[in-house]
């Protein structure tokens, strides 16, 4: 894009820009949702719109960008995605800048120029967005660099588990849940915890034996409830392809086999 953009006032530039650049951008609807979720706020979205068309931050064709920005906001609303209030504030700001740019510029308005403020804000944000990427590119522990811990065999290491109360643990889990609501599927929530515990127990048994008679995984003394839990655990493990239920031949004893290959 080497059209010379006159410095300064957008109102002058606008007409030219409308002819020079496409005003519409088409993004397939599926991609759009993922795409919109990828933005970290109105500045990020705005920056994208500007960069995507190689506009100069200091000379944003405000009318074009406002139109596009509003179009995205509409789309987001159509898709019923949660829209942070900041997006709407930005929309208002853009509209205000646009309407101001249509008016003759008077000196006293220039004092508190929302356009200049926005440009400044965008530049500042762009700087840290880049910094975040640079930071991510640095070699870091556990991703690019690893440290080790060499044992000293003659000194028994004192391993003292930290003192933690159950309340603390539960409080933490509450937080995790709050953060991970999206991750947690319904079926997980409904699943009684005992099933997961039993899943662990079954795996533990199979670790020693590789293969167990299906019947032997059940403890009759646990009663109906216990049997159901065990059964659910076995089914869940089968679903996760951690174990396999096999019957070598008709009427033979059904066996549960670890799907874990040896030499782990």
């Amino acid at each position: 894009m080497d059209i010379a953009i006159p410095e300064g006032k957008n109102a002058v530039v606008q007409g030219i820009l409308f002819e020079a650049w496409p005003t519409d951008l088409y993004v397939p609807p599926d991609a759009l949702q993922i795409f919109l979720e990828g933005f970290e706020g109105p500045l990020d979205l705005l920056l994208y719109l500007i960069q995507n068309q190689n506009f100069d931050i200091t000379n944003i064709p405000i009318s074009t960008i406002t139109t596009q920005y509003l179009k995205y906001i509409e789309l987001i609303e159509d898709l019923h995605l949660d829209l942070a209030a900041e997006y709407l504030v930005m929309a208002a700001t853009l509209v205000e800048i646009k309407s101001r740019s249509l008016l003759p510029i008077s000196e006293d308005i220039k004092e508190d120029d929302p356009h200049a403020k926005l440009v400044q804000q965008l530049r500042e944000y762009a700087k840290y967005k880049q910094a975040a990427q640079d930071l991510d590119a640095l070699p870091r522990l556990e991703r690019d660099l690893f440290t080790g811990l060499v044992e000293h065999p003659d000194i028994p290491r004192q391993i003292v588990p930290p003192e933690v109360s159950l309340d603390e643990l539960l409080e933490v889990m509450q937080d995790v849940m709050r953060r991970a609501t999206l991750f947690t599927s319904h079926q997980v929530i409904k699943e009684p915890l005992s099933v997961r515990e039993r899943m662990s127990a079954v795996l533990e048994q199979l670790k020693q034996l590789q293969q167990i008679d299906f019947i032997n995984l059940f403890v009759i003394e646990e009663g109906r409830a216990g049997v159901v839990v065990t059964l659910l655990a076995i089914l869940e493990l089968t679903k996760e392809s951690l174990i396999k239920i096999v019957q070598p031949q008709a009427f033979a004893v059904i066996q549960v086999v670890s799907l874990e290959t040896k030499n782990a």
Binding site: P161, L166, V172, Q174, A180, P192, M199, E204, A264
Partner: protein, 183 residues
């Protein structure tokens, strides 16, 4: 490509457990021309040689090769010990809580829930406390370990079994969360 020796040296250091030749072979699984077992064995011999007389030595134990500090350095290394006060962190609690509720679970699944990496050191500590154990390995590429809680964990928290923990749904209800901020 870096020298075979540097890769093996680094792996033995970073593994946190003894590695045998089978383990070491797997490091080169994506190489066009992986080294032969014999070359690996020779490199191990060289490394043993290289580290002779140093502060750490490469030794062969039952399950493979590992670095360990030299026995005669004990008097000085003992001084390191008091520094190793176990201070539990929120990260540790989050990790153990997720394992308790979602076992059997892999490390990357824990990371997916937490949204941040769980260090090898963290997993090692939980294993050392005997709060978690490796139950099996998932049959997916890399064969990641599946973790579950232990009896030791239950004892520590005075639980008879995991059912004594409140269900996740109860945890959710207990605090009706205003869905204000997204992270």
């Amino acid at each position: 490509m870096p020298e075979l020796k540097t890769i093996i040296e680094a792996a033995l250091f970073a593994a946190g457990k003894p590695l045998d030749v089978d383990h070491l072979v797997k490091l080169f699984i994506e190489d066009a021309v992986p080294p032969e077992r014999k070359a690996i064995r020779n490199t191990l011999k060289e490394l043993i040689q290289d580290y002779t007389g140093k502060g750490i030595e490469l030794v062969q134990v039952a399950s493979g090769y590992r670095f360990q500090t030299r026995a005669d350095l004990t008097p000085w290394l003992k001084q390191l010990q008091p520094e190793r006060v176990t201070r539990y962190s929120r990260v540790l609690l989050e990790t153990i809580a997720i394992i308790a509720y979602r076992q059997p679970i892999t490390r990357s699944e824990i990371e997916a829930i937490r949204g941040i990496s769980v260090s090898t050191d963290m997993m090692r500590r939980l294993l050392e406390y005997n709060w978690i154990r490796v139950l099996a390995h998932r049959n997916t590429p890399g064969r990641p370990a599946l973790y579950g809680t232990t009896r030791g964990f239950l004892n520590h928290f005075n639980l008879k079994n995991l059912n004594d923990l409140p269900a996740l749904t109860e945890l959710m209800i207990e605090e009706q969360i205003p869905k204000s901020d997204s992270s």
